[in-house]
Symmetry: none
Subunit: 342 residues, 3 copies
Amino acid sequence: MQAVEKLHCQSPGCSIQVSRIMRPDDANIAGNVHGGTILKMIEEAGIIISTRHCNRQNKERCVAVLARVERTDFLSPMSIGDVAHVSAEITYTSKHSVEVQVNVMAENILTGAKRLTNRATLWYVALSLENVDKVVEIPSVQYANPEQQEEGRKRYEAQKLDRIETKQRSEDIIFPAINVEPYTVGYSQSSLIHLVGPSDCALHKFVQGGVTMKLMDEVAGIVAARHCKTNIVTASVDAINFHQKIQKGSVMTVSGRMTFTSNKSMEIEVFVDVDHVMESPKGKAPAVTAFFTYVSLDKEGKALPIPMLKIETEDEKRRFEEGRNRYLLTKAKRMAQMQKSQ
Amino acid sequence: MQAVEKLHCQSPGCSIQVSRIMRPDDANIAGNVHGGTILKMIEEAGIIISTRHCNRQNKERCVAVLARVERTDFLSPMSIGDVAHVSAEITYTSKHSVEVQVNVMAENILTGAKRLTNRATLWYVALSLENVDKVVEIPSVQYANPEQQEEGRKRYEAQKLDRIETKQRSEDIIFPAINVEPYTVGYSQSSLIHLVGPSDCALHKFVQGGVTMKLMDEVAGIVAARHCKTNIVTASVDAINFHQKIQKGSVMTVSGRMTFTSNKSMEIEVFVDVDHVMESPKGKAPAVTAFFTYVSLDKEGKALPIPMLKIETEDEKRRFEEGRNRYLLTKAKRMAQMQKSQ
Amino acid sequence: MQAVEKLHCQSPGCSIQVSRIMRPDDANIAGNVHGGTILKMIEEAGIIISTRHCNRQNKERCVAVLARVERTDFLSPMSIGDVAHVSAEITYTSKHSVEVQVNVMAENILTGAKRLTNRATLWYVALSLENVDKVVEIPSVQYANPEQQEEGRKRYEAQKLDRIETKQRSEDIIFPAINVEPYTVGYSQSSLIHLVGPSDCALHKFVQGGVTMKLMDEVAGIVAARHCKTNIVTASVDAINFHQKIQKGSVMTVSGRMTFTSNKSMEIEVFVDVDHVMESPKGKAPAVTAFFTYVSLDKEGKALPIPMLKIETEDEKRRFEEGRNRYLLTKAKRMAQMQKSQ
């Protein structure tokens, strides 16, 4: 993801910073902070700044709801005791959506060292507080120059296309049986359920997107650890689209399966289904899907080789090929960017 | 507890699995997961499956409420980093109760080793969402054979008997004499204990001061609420000094007692004592003390009058006078400041 | 507390802002955020900025520890959904202490309204990471003018005097008589109070049974640890019956006392009482009771012998005998089952 130029913004409401100390529960047993903890903080900053923006024009009261997160890379691991500084600002608005750009810095307050660990882009829509099925219009932001606005419009169009594509894909989920042969898909496949509680929904009666992303990362991490039996850390998350609001009192089922392994990384597909236990038995409905990439680290933090995923079915083969394509595409993009910046 | 034969069940709602990684806060300082963490996960699986079952027939919306847990053995300790898999299924239904059988497996995702750590049986009843005093009927499950149903009926009758017995027994427990005369110091006096966990100590091995202050405010708030039975809010905290470091693994005892009431405010004295349970028995040592002032608010947020504290002993009288002096001093200082700023 | 003039500080490390959305768990049932939540956030900002400052000069690595908080007023209540902005800066340093001034603003992101809710002053000392008993020197800050430094020195002297006074006072507090003879029932007896919050009641307005069991295990574990001073783990829980619904906003009192010890196990009886503080003064009602069995483990996980419980009264003797009967009955059942399965 390329850095986005800052908007011309004097008012204090244009940016926000969320900071806190990383605690033991935020990290795995090797002391590396979970990617999910960071994703949750990123979304907290995003929902604050976009809800604030949408209510700027004194009309209908509304709340921002996460619609999409662009691909996010975890550039450097964070540790217990580090202070995470998450700063967010609005970089583009369309008629019905807000783009928020977020930077995460890790600060070691003992040595004073600071480093950029993440850069993320989130898209929010605003729903009326009176009627949560009504999408409200977004006040537009001021741009420093026409180019800045044009760049934003391009990003907006690109993500819009991608959102339609994912929407179609997420509807053909199949849960296979469990298989104990090492390194097969069934071997590491995992799922968890979460009962949506009040603190998952602070601003409205729906789950905050950050809560969902944290759970997805937790499952992906278990899949990765089962496959490699080592210290694993989140390297990146592909774009995630949120197609459905998840209500307080629902049961979320979060499932993950490995789709692809390269020499030094593994890709895990994660699904979220929602079950409204208190309502009529309409069964589960798919809510979110995403691809997480993990790497395996030795004690010095160096990347270890990943055991190759053992493919058993035609579907697994197809998914492995798709994963390889995503992997090669990302690699190619990164090389193009490096050459550009030289 | 003997294993219960599985019900003949095709539908996806018949069983559920809750899994998550054991975190530092789930365990004691030796790294063993608290039994309470497991019991809480067991019940989470139980409430989901039984609420889902009770709402299967499209009649009255209802929620399951735990009525009884059978004797539960902890067969093997679990550690931080293990994944706990809690799977629950419904094994019997009577007219008004559901039996849920739960198995807990601990998986070391690094070695792949799995072991059974618990087997539990829970009984739920279902209450109407509209009227929580109404017990609703439970849809019956299908059994594989008549013997299975008969075994369930026997377990049901056995627990029913035992429940009546415990009910009788628990009624003649005599509690330590508590001063029940309203508005005395003893009437609202409260204390709590808190086991210092890893997340209370992110930066070093001592409790962060903020954690201590939060616990102190919690106790002061309970004292205030017990005195007034209204919505109470913290108005101020006097200076607090921290004389002693509190180490991870210690037990903090936080106690509060009311010392003074004015027309519209009440003062609560809070003590923190520390018990280093894992060290030599040097007993408790006072670590922190402070005075909290609370006000009582009506629905519009206006301050309500406070019932006057009933004084019974010489010590209480002395403390009341000291409280009044602090109150008058603060009032005088505030007036002086207001005049200065005019 | 008067506002303190800002230090002349260009470097970004001189101030910090911690922000987050207020969640249901941060507030009481009337929706007012607990003072304790705010105090905890204030201290989080304080510890970050002062630890960072103390490590500025590249000498000994150290961490800041809270020594004192000045009187703090809560100027206006905060609500669920508000964003709390806590900003801290260093306003004075003596040789061994740092003064941090903190401002808390509440922002309603729906209306855009902001208001000052707190102003607090905290004093930290810095301890060496190598040797936590060693207080390290604080690098001094630059002042805008000599008056600013002089004002700070006065505040420093004033709090120093006050700290000595409180230290003396808190030493002659007399605590309720506790039985200090080791291994008696009174020696390990413990209780805690818990204010039922929103997250304890995810599906309905009553406490989930699992929350209650977790609290019961917490108290039982503290009783066991106080008795043995070793690593203790839950071995089993007898059947528990839940006779009463516990409502959100109630205060639960969970008490535990040791009833029986065998060679390698100890039995703890736990009671839960409920106090509906917001309702008419009907006092406490017993809600749940249970027996927990704990064992004590050495570093290899082998069971250690348990110090025998010292019996002092007739009631204790009767309860000890009852405990022994339960113990023998369980043992007999287990042996019968083992023989059956052979």
